[in-house]
């Protein structure tokens, strides 16, 4: 299962990628595979302030529906517009075209406290 180096991860299977002063957030290939075929992703409006661990959206697959959790506190600056018409991007390219939200973190260093690839690999027993 693909777990790219250089990203940060959470116990809830979100990934975080630093991009300048902003953070891009999605779910891992493992999570997407466990959920099965994704059919719907509900995302927040840009401008919304999110606390750490707050539910920022909902993801639905043919099997189940699941909450999406905010890895670090911040303000939503953009959401992936492509997921409305093509939620399957989350299955196909979870770390690229399947990204979900872009936030401006309250604390620029907050993501450093999240799991690295090796620690996340241990979480999923890989």
């Amino acid at each position: 299962m693909e777990i790219p180096e250089g990203l940060r991860y959470t116990q809830d299977h979100e990934w975080v990628r630093a991009d300048g002063t902003e953070l891009v957030i999605g779910i891992t290939a493992y999570a997407a595979d466990e959920l099965g075929d994704i059919v719907f992703v509900e995302l927040p409006r840009p401008g919304r302030k999110l606390a750490a661990h707050e539910v920022f959206g909902v993801i639905e697959s043919v099997k189940t529906a699941s909450d999406l959790f905010t890895p670090v506190a911040g303000e939503v600056v953009a959401v992936n517009p492509d997921l409305t018409g093509a939620p399957e991007l989350v299955n196909g390219e979870p770390y690229a075209g399947g990204w979900m939200i872009r936030i401006r973190p309250d604390d620029a260093a907050a993501a450093d406290a999240l799991l690295d690839a090796a620690a996340y690999r241990a979480v999923i027993g890989g």
């Binding site: 043919v62 189940t64 939620p87 399957e88």
Partner: protein
């Protein structure tokens, strides 16, 4: 007709190649059973074709309707004769699998046989022909039946009052939680904003809490499958409005610590809601109201045997203890001192949350459930549950070994098995097992629910199956497990005997086409 539709129809008409399993399990082609999909009524429409026995309106029928309110063109309705319509629907019905056609062990759904005497009763003209707005004086028979049914459901649940209005289980849940909200509000207790549900709950429980304006707090299950008492106590707070429990749980297990659980809920000032989906396990054995639950809903269509799923509407009556009765939906059926029956009048019970459905609910379902209850009587209903529990335990004991049973020991009316080890050994998943069961002639059980058991099957045989039927199903499940180890390709390809193979659920959910668009423009066959 658009090219796209033509292609779809052409594809649908192609005989689906079936494969036969030979003596050695080899795969060989065999002829299909026939064209399994058929054109829609619109596609078989022929201009001018009709059945003339139906009286047509007079030529001047439209004159009384102002021109501005008439449609510009006649509606695009297909034109067929009566035999064509009848054959269309009979052909479709032959593609269906129903409990009248075979065993249907869909866990949590209680697909028991629907006794035909229920249908006789529901079709009696006095019930079937009654206008929903008939004055009470003309509806005494129906009102009496409803009043008696309210009493029976109160007695069975150990509760004090019952509304028959909700149209289904989830609707009953919403009604029950709105009643709880009204109770807290009436006491000036405005700070309760949370509803606690276990992670094994039906998905409708958290959905209900959200619909009623509450925040859902999910607590984990204990290793034995029951509610984790410590987790519940930790989650309870002055913000807790209610705890929603299913007993027996969705794992088919009776909650052993029910008294402790309910004491903890009430000590926090919260109310206890029981999801009654699994009442078929406990009729005459366990009264939720007597145990301390404050409110529950029934699924009459499950427990009291009315057709459901695709087969008909449901009914989700809500039973409450006395302290919640003031808030039940209005109108209830009441009996006057002189023995006459009537509906409550507007404003008679000012605390009521109001109507939750037009008229008096799905009255035909109420008649069927009443008939079922009267046909069995109290001791008969207890036997229903005893037999349902016996059947589930028999099946559990028979398939244990071929499949892993994660919560061993006696179950109630249903049990969870898992194909987890099969998946690790063969790559065959629970979905494949379910699809292969179709080839063996059975409706698959519920799969991938409850969510807390990996690769699970939730099997509920109900009390209406014979020992031979139970054995045949157990044999099939065991045979499928053997096939998975010896010929996994059989399971990956299954089903091969069904009218359609594996449907593309993902595309259906991602890009639903909910309208047939073939009849537009010049192709529209309108009667002129």
């Amino acid at each position: 007709m658009s090219l796209e539709v033509e292609q779809t129809i052409a594809a649908a008409r192609v005989l689906i190649p079936l494969r036969d399993r030979g003596e050695e399990g080899s795969l060989g082609a065999r002829n299909a059973v026939g064209p399994v999909l058929q054109p829609t009524l619109a596609e078989t429409s022929t201009p001018g074709r009709r059945t003339d026995q139906v009286p047509h309106p007079p030529a001047d029928a439209l004159d009384g309707i102002p021109a501005a309110h008439r449609r510009a063109a006649p509606p695009a309705l297909p034109e067929l004769n009566e035999p064509g319509v009848v054959r269309h629907f009979v052909a479709l019905s032959k593609l269906n699998y129903s409990v009248d056609g075979g065993f249907y062990p869909l866990g949590s759904c209680t697909m028991k046989h629907n006794p035909k005497v229920n249908e006789w009763a529901a079709r009696l003209p006095g019930f079937a022909g009654l206008h929903p707005l008939a004055p009470d004086a003309l509806a005494q028979g129906t009102l009496e039946l409803m009043w008696e049914l309210q009493g029976m459901l109160a007695e069975i649940s150990g509760m004090d009052a019952v509304t028959l209005q909700p149209a289904a289980g989830a609707h009953g849940e919403l009604t029950g939680i709105l009643v709880i909200r009204a109770y807290h509000e009436a006491r000036g207790d405005h700070d309760r904003t949370e509803v606690i549900v276990p992670d094994s709950s039906h998905g409708t429980n958290p959905a209900t809490a959200s619909m009623a304006g509450y925040r859902t707090v999910t607590i984990p299950s204990a290793p034995d499958g029951g509610v984790d008492l410590d987790a519940l106590k930790a989650a309870l707070s002055p913000r807790t409005a209610a705890v929603m429990l299913t007993n027996p749980s969705t794992l088919g297990l009776f909650e052993r610590r029910i008294v402790e659980l309910l004491d903890a809920v009430h000590a926090a000032g919260a109310l206890a809601y029981m999801d009654g989906a699994n009442m078929n396990a406990i009729l005459g054995r366990f009264q939720p109201g007597a145990a301390g639950f404050d409110v529950m809903h029934y699924n009459l269509h499950k427990t009291f045997s009315t057709p459901h799923g695709g087969g008909g509407p449901g009914a989700g009556p809500v039973a409450v203890r006395a302290h919640l009765a003031p808030y039940l939906p209005t109108p209830l059926v009441v009996r006057e001192a002189d023995g006459r029956f009537r509906l409550e009048r507007d404003g008679e019970r000012p605390g009521s949350i109001g109507r939750v459905r037009a008229y008096q609910g799905n009255a035909g379902v109420l008649v069927r459930a009443y008939t079922y209850i009267r046909a069995h009587g109290g001791s008969g209903l207890r036997t229903v549950s005893d037999d349902a529990v016996l059947a589930a335990n028999y099946l559990r004991a028979r398939v244990e070994g071929a499949y892993e049973v994660p919560y061993p020991g006696p179950c109630k009316h249903e049990f969870v098995a898992t194909a987890r080890l099969l998946k690790e050994a063969t790559g065959v998943r629970t979905l494949d097992v379910a699809k292969r069961l179709i080839d063996h002639g059975f409706h698959p059980p519920t799969i991938y629910f409850p969510l807390i058991v990996e690769e699970c099957l939730l099997i509920e045989p109900t009390e209406t199956e014979t020992l031979e039927d139970l054995d045949a199903f157990a044999d099939a499940l065991i045979e499928v497990a053997r096939e998975a180890r010896e010929h996994p390709e059989l399971l990956h390809e299954a089903p091969v005997t069904a009218p359609v193979r594996r449907l593309d659920e993902a595309t259906a959910a991602r890009h639903p086409e909910l309208r047939w668009r073939g009849m537009t423009g010049a192709e529209t066959p309108c009667p002129q």
